[in-house]
């Protein structure tokens, strides 16, 4: 007997019918019509039954819609009307709220735009969900992960794991000299890779075929923009591209540029075999040296965990020689890679932006609850007519959501107009067109509602809680001594003071960095890129030619300039204790390095005075190394370091200088006078400010030896500054946001005082007629708020101390958090609040009591 209906009505129509029936409370409507439909199908044709059914449904729609939405919207329209009237009536307070919330929302909007962009990285690859990157973590130190793995790993993984469809190994290079079609540039985005790159990632080929581009190892694939840059609109297939001035490669393919939201943006793709061939140290079958990034394409439905679980035995299999394999293998999904590097930035900026917004929301809450009395009659009347509390809450929430919507529009306009400034401030590439992204839109919708609810819920609860009888009994509502309002003011003050203080701390630290004696000369030094064989061979001659110029004092070829160090290694020395390890930083320099950067010698001789037979084995060391090794008389001691297995003698000691950024301490360092080592930079010290003519002359000297090598020159000072970009960015951002917070909080205080004054007009009048002085009245008006501001400051101080200390920890050389930072931020906030409060209090206190008492 248990049989279902013979014929199921059209599903969509049935669903609609159930919704509509539900609205009217006709719970069996759909089933009844379904039954009639059934008998109709049995009696006549099915198609006509379907038509009849649909007809029935559609006929019901307009009525039901009108019943549900029209009447409901009627109420909302009334709420909106009241809300607009109210905003219009209290224009001052509305403006305070609007400006505050608009600015706060704009700040948050920027961060959301930023977040959305960062989260969308690498999603454009068709297989993005299945691509993972191999990560190596050291046994017993799982947090210490690197993306570099040995060359033999990928082929073995692909062969051993049926779950892995393909793997690609790649190595990236930047600032490489590329020559093609007699054009020369330094280029970024040179990638040596397996041809499986084009299988794992999504590349659109304009010319050539993914399968055959690397069939000859000297093939090169160009991005569309690079093909255009070098060859114009011609088809570049078969043309020659010269890598580092030595290796000729043949263009075998051109691919469309990757979008800006790609974490891998290759412009020159060269076969990895070519890399292995060029570097004699690179062995494609090695399990030892880790220098490649590996990406894998998993088969559909394969989970990362299942692959990771098997990697343990895999590694053991391939590291037979030493039973304990030296690392663990982990995988990270492609879509997470980029975001992980940005997480801390987004959290920080998002946090500050939210604080500004929170200050604005607190303003809204404060002003809304303070004004509760002005709306009490309206609420009372609505209640008397029969409005439920729920409906009234709905009204106030509608009002605040509407408000947040308007503020959002204002914020959006602000974002649109400030976008270029923001981009240059943060070094981002946001554009307003992102707004059409559905995910972002849903976030923004959520933001409007959340802000509206946060701002409106509490005031709504307060305002609607009173009994109508109380209201008409003329009891004063919205007491000035609201605990919540005081708490919120205190919070606002805390946020503001902390932001200001952190700004001051950052500014102080940055000034400290800028003014600190780095231990070397910074002014009038030019840095020139010289990574070219012909230049390296002629280092001596170039130096002599340069020095012949009257404006050039010294010139030096070095592997790093004085403000950085690229090589770190271990050293050995006679008398080293068993098990002792000593790391040192290395810089390969020439005779004039110390002169160019004006390094001070504390013992021994300079490189200039070493004899020609010493030249091959002479070291300069810094004081820190001497201290680390405990040497009393360092000159003449011998040392060995392991880059190139160099043994040498210490000829002199230089005074410590900051060869790393100021975030790190000065470390032990060796300057090695090794003429054969390729020096990447040429530093030129001038005795005057650089002029275009002078730079042109230097360029012509370089061009004499390598006419096609691109001439790229920086001012050394700029190089130093650029290593603090993120700190400078942070300083600007904190500065901006704390100004915003001060303004918004100040406006809030202004609004609150204005309200207090307005409500106490008559009281003030009476007091004055009874003989109160202006000062007494001012004191009385500002006492409450003033106390809150002070409390906020007191709570903020330990917070500042803690946060500033935490930030400063990243610098090895840092300023102290002095008393005047606390005092300064407190004074700023006090000044702003005293000005806003007392200006109005004075105005009220000076008013003629006759005016305020006349209309009673």
């Amino acid at each position: 007997m248990n049989m279902g209906p013979h014929h199921r009505p059209p599903r969509l129509a049935e669903w609609l019918l159930r919704r509509l029936g539900h609205i009217k409370g006709w719970d069996t409507l759909a089933d009844d019509i379904g039954e009639a439909y059934n008998s109709m199908v049995e009696k006549s044709k099915k198609s006509s039954a379907i038509l009849w059914y649909w007809g029935h449904v559609l006929k019901t729609v307009p009525g039901a819609l009108r019943n549900t939405y029209y009447w409901r919207s009627n109420m909302i329209r009334n709420h909106l009307k009241i809300a607009f009237r109210h905003m219009n009536k209290h224009r001052g307070i509305t403006a305070i709220n609007l400006v505050g919330m608009g600015v706060g929302l704009a700040a948050v909007l920027f961060i959301l735009f930023f977040l959305r962009l960062e989260l969308s990285f690498d999603h454009h690859h068709v297989n993005a969900d299945r691509i993972v990157r191999a990560m190596k973590s050291y046994v017993g130190d799982d947090d210490n992960r690197t993306a570099l793995v040995p060359p033999a790993l990928s082929p073995a993984l692909v062969a051993d794991f049926p779950e892995i469809e393909a793997g690609v190994r790649l190595i990236k290079q930047n600032d490489v000299h590329i020559m093609a079609n007699s054009k020369n540039f330094f280029e970024r985005g040179i990638v040596f890779c397996d041809s499986s790159l084009f299988k794992v990632f999504s590349f659109d080929f304009i010319h050539g075929h993914a399968e055959s581009v690397f069939s000859d190892p000297n093939g090169i694939v160009l991005s569309e923009s690079m093909a255009y840059k070098y060859f114009g609109k011609e088809n570049p297939l078969g043309e020659t591209v010269t890598y580092k001035g030595q290796t000729a490669l043949i263009v075998t393919g051109v691919v469309k540029d990757q979008p800006g939201t790609s974490s891998l943006i290759p412009h020159f793709m060269i076969s990895l075999d070519m890399f292995m061939e060029m570097k004699d140290w690179a062995n494609p079958d090695s399990w030892g040296a880790s220098f490649l990034n590996n990406y894998f394409l998993l088969r559909p439905g394969v989970s990362l965990e299942s692959v990771e679980a098997k990697s343990e035995s895999f590694l053991q299999r391939h590291y037979e020689s030493n039973k304990d394999h030296p690392f663990n293998l982990k995988f990270i999904p492609l879509k997470q890679i980029h975001f992980q590097t940005r997480r801390s930035t987004i959290t920080l900026f998002g946090g500050i932006a939210s604080l500004v917004l929170i200050v604005a929301i607190m303003n809204y809450i404060n002003l809304a609850t303070a004004r509760a009395s002005t709306r009490s009659k309206e609420i009372g009347l609505r209640k008397v007519i029969g409005a439920q509390r729920k409906a009234l809450l709905g009204q106030f929430i509608t009002e605040s959501v509407l408000f947040s919507l308007i503020a959002f529009m204002a914020g959006l306009a602000l974002v649109a107009s400030l976008m270029p400034g923001f981009n240059s401030l943060l070094g981002t590439h946001l554009s307003l067109s992102l707004i059409f992204d559905p995910v972002l839109l849903s976030w923004l919708g959520g933001l409007i509602i959340v802000v509206g609810l946060c701002a409106g819920l509490y005031p709504a609860l307060i305002i609607t809680s009173t009994k109508p009888a109380d209201i008409f009994r003329k009891q004063v509502m919205g007491h000035s001594k609201s605990i919540l309002r005081s708490t919120l003011v205190v919070f606002q003050v805390i946020i503001t003071v902390v932001l200001i203080a952190l700004t001051l701390v950052i500014a102080k630290q940055m000034r400290f960095i800028n003014q600190r004696d780095m231990g070397f000369e910074q002014k009038n030094i030019l840095a020139i890129d010289v990574r070219d064989d012909r230049l390296q061979k002629n280092k001596m001659i170039i130096r002599q030619l340069l020095k012949a110029h009257p404006a050039i004092q010294h010139a030096s070829f070095a592997s790093s300039l004085a403000n950085s160090s690229d090589y770190m290694t271990n050293i050995d020395w006679p008398g080293k204790e068993e098990g002792r390890e000593q790391d040192v930083w290395l810089n390969f320099v020439d005779e004039e390095f110390a002169d160019v950067f004006n390094l001070e010698l504390t013992a021994g001789r300079d490189f200039k005075s070493v004899t020609s037979n010493e030249k091959d084995a002479a070291f300069l060391v810094n004081e820190t190394l001497v201290r680390a090794l405990g040497w009393d008389d360092p000159v003449g001691k011998s040392l060995e370091h392991f880059i190139g297995g160099r043994k040498g003698t210490v000829v002199g000691v230089v005074k410590d200088f900051h060869m790393l950024s100021l975030q790190e301490s000065i470390a032990p360092m060796i300057m090695d006078l090794w003429p054969d080592w390729d020096k990447s930079s040429l530093a030129v010290a001038l005795n005057q400010n650089p002029t275009p003519e002078l730079i042109g002359e230097i360029e012509s000297i370089i061009k004499r030896f390598a006419p096609d090598y691109p001439f790229v020159m920086d001012y050394f000072e700029d190089r130093i500054k650029s290593s603090y970009t993120s700190e400078i960015r942070m300083q600007k951002l904190f500065g901006l946001f704390s100004i915003l917070a001060v303004c918004i909080a100040g406006m809030g205080l202004f609004g609150l005082t204005a309200f207090t004054v307005q409500r106490q007009t008559r009281e003030i009048g009476i007091r004055k007629t009874l003989g109160a002085s202006i000062m007494v009245i001012v004191y009385q008006l500002s006492r409450q708020l003033g106390r809150n501001v002070l409390i906020g400051n007191l709570i903020a101080w330990p917070l500042i101390w803690w946060l500033a200390g935490k930030w400063l920890m990243r610098f090895a050389y840092r300023v102290d958090v002095d008393w005047y930072i606390f005092a300064g931020s407190t004074v700023i906030v006090l000044l702003v609040s005293v000005l806003t409060i007392s200006a109005q209090a004075f105005k009220a206190a000076r008013a003629n009591p006759a005016d305020s008492l006349r209309y009673e």
Binding site: G4, P5, W26, T28, A36, K59
Partner: protein, 109 residues
């Protein structure tokens, strides 16, 4: 008692006639047969709703029925007031019809 609309009257009568089977589908069929007009489900539900609100009908959900996919019917029945209302209707109808003979003929002559 207030007068009922014609639709309400007819639905009230149909419920009486159908007894245990008085739910929307057979009510509609009966009315369509009797009036030779097309009745929408909405109009019947409306009438039933109003009659229920006026207290002439009460409704209850039947046990789940397999042929309706395990869903219930809403069965209507008269309340005491509903029966009184039927009486009033009949009384009013009778009074109004009383004395009217063969009106078609009369009108023609």
């Amino acid at each position: 008692m207030k007068l009922l609309t014609r639709a309400e009257e007819l639905v009230l009568l149909a419920v009486w006639r159908l007894k245990e089977e008085a739910y929307c589908v057979p009510i509609r069929e009966m009315l369509m047969e009797a009036t030779e007009l097309n009745w929408s489900f909405g109009s019947i539900y409306d009438a039933l709703d109003r009659l229920e609100k006026k207290g002439y009908l009460r409704s209850s959900l039947s046990d789940p029925i397999a042929s309706r996919g395990g869903r219930s019917k809403r069965i209507y029945a008269h309340t005491a007031d509903g029966i009184k209302a039927m009486n009033v209707i009949r009384k009013v109808q009778r009074r109004m019809w009383d004395g009217i003979g063969d009106f078609t003929v009369e009108k023609l002559s």
